[in-house]
């Protein structure tokens, strides 16, 4: 037996993102549920979110985001050996999204699987992609975080309807002479598996807001620090901190405790809502597009959510 020559590192070559066209404002929500713009902005920090119409699927959004990342990478479909879709809101149990998305992007016969680590999913998928590239199991990997949370939300439940949204973000990962994706720090807390839950296909998403808030604001900054430590990066060297866009107050609390004093803090949630596994690549891609981060910058990604699961790693911006 033999194994391929290993690559010294893996890096993100390009990002891409897609959001559905329909903007739903807080005032729009207040027409049908007992809430208001001030309450939503002060509790969760969201001004507006994007919601996909009935005819637009999670796979459609994945194809859009993945296609943009692939185009931006300068690679062709034939260069991709593995497609990973991080999601927790697929409508079907089988088939998975990854094989369909790969087919629609013209990627012929790649390895294709989905990852369900809820809102931490993109960081899990990125770590897996990095490992596959470094081991020689894939030349390039297309990693997509995509969610259509709107189809799992009770639109009369104001505790969830104001938070969650739809969208997709993607990254192309390839080999590199120097590491561009740091070691992942990942873990879970299955004793709190009922804190965020969709019981079955006929149920809507429920979450214990205070439990999640307390966990997120106390348990995660050590994970963020460890991800920096393991990459040999001091938090002060970070140009950006991109936590899962769960709730602006969670984002700001973790950022404060991390002490990344020179970093831009991703606040994509304000106009994108909470898009679970899509939120980190969506935020990174939009920050890059707006010039808030530049090529060569170091960003810390930190995913966390249902499971409870969490994962974080340092990423060099392509």
């Amino acid at each position: 037996m033999r194994i391929p020559d290993v690559a010294p590192g893996a890096r993100v070559l390009a990002f891409g993102h897609y959001q559905p066209a329909t903007i739903v404002t807080n005032d729009d929500l207040a027409k049908t549920i007992d809430t208001n713009d001030e309450w939503i902005q002060s509790r969760v920090g969201i001004k507006e979110r994007r919601i996909a119409p009935d005819g637009e699927s999670l796979e459609d959004m994945s194809v859009q985001a993945g296609g943009k990342a692939l185009a931006a990478s300068g690679l062709s479909a034939g260069d991709i050996d593995l497609v990973i879709v991080a999601t927790c809101t697929l409508e079907t149990q089988i088939p998975n999204a990854a094989a369909i998305v790969a087919h629609r992007l013209g990627i012929r016969a790649p390895g294709a699987f989905d990852v369900n680590a809820a809102c931490a999913g993109f960081c899990y998928a990125l770590a897996t992609a990095s490992a596959a590239v470094r081991s020689g199991d894939a030349r390039h990997v297309l990693v997509i975080g995509a969610e259509k949370l709107s189809q799992w939300i009770d639109w009369t439940d104001r505790s969830t309807a104001v938070i969650f949204a739809d969208g997709a973000g993607a990254a192309v990962v390839g080999a590199s002479d120097t590491p561009g994706i740091g070691p992942v720090v990942w873990g879970s807390a299955g004793d709190r598996s009922d804190a965020i839950i969709i019981d079955d296909r006929d149920s809507f998403l429920r979450q214990e807001g205070q439990t999640v808030f307390r966990w997120a604001t106390t348990a995660l900054h050590p994970v963020a620090k460890e991800a920096c430590d393991r990459a040999g990066v001091d938090p002060s060297e970070l140009a950006a901190f991109v936590p899962h866009q769960a709730n602006l107050r969670i984002i700001e609390a973790i950022a404060r405790k991390l002490g990344a004093d020179n970093a831009v803090i991703a606040r994509d949630i304000v106009t994108a809502g909470n898009t679970s596994a899509a939120s980190i690549p969506l935020a990174l891609s939009r920050m890059l597009e707006r010039g808030e981060v530049r090529s060569g910058d170091l960003a810390l990604a930190l995913g966390f959510g249902a499971g409870l699961t969490y994962a974080g790693q340092v990423i060099e911006i392509p």
Partner: protein, 79 residues
């Protein structure tokens, strides 16, 4: 020596000021968190976490909802 009620009140005032921006002097025992200080449930969680670090007393979420006034929190921490 155990912290006096006055010490705890001052510590709590400082915590509440850091989290909500409310002047510490306004945090007096008779004040209701929701009605007088306009503090919401998520800020209460942040205050409970900070109070645990400061005073070494855990305030679980199921207890937190019963703590309506500053005095309730003082009593909980002292007992």
């Amino acid at each position: 020596m155990a912290a006096t009620e006055q010490d705890i009140l001052e510590g709590l005032g400082k915590i509440i000021n850091e989290i909500t921006g409310i002047p510490a002097g306004e945090v007096t025992p008779d004040k209701s968190f929701v009605d007088d200080l306009d503090i919401d449930s998520l800020s209460m969680v942040e205050i409970a976490v900070a109070a645990q670090d400061e005073f070494g007393v855990e305030i679980p979420d199921d207890q937190l909802k019963n703590l309506k006034t500053v005095k309730d929190v003082l009593n909980f921490i002292q007992n």
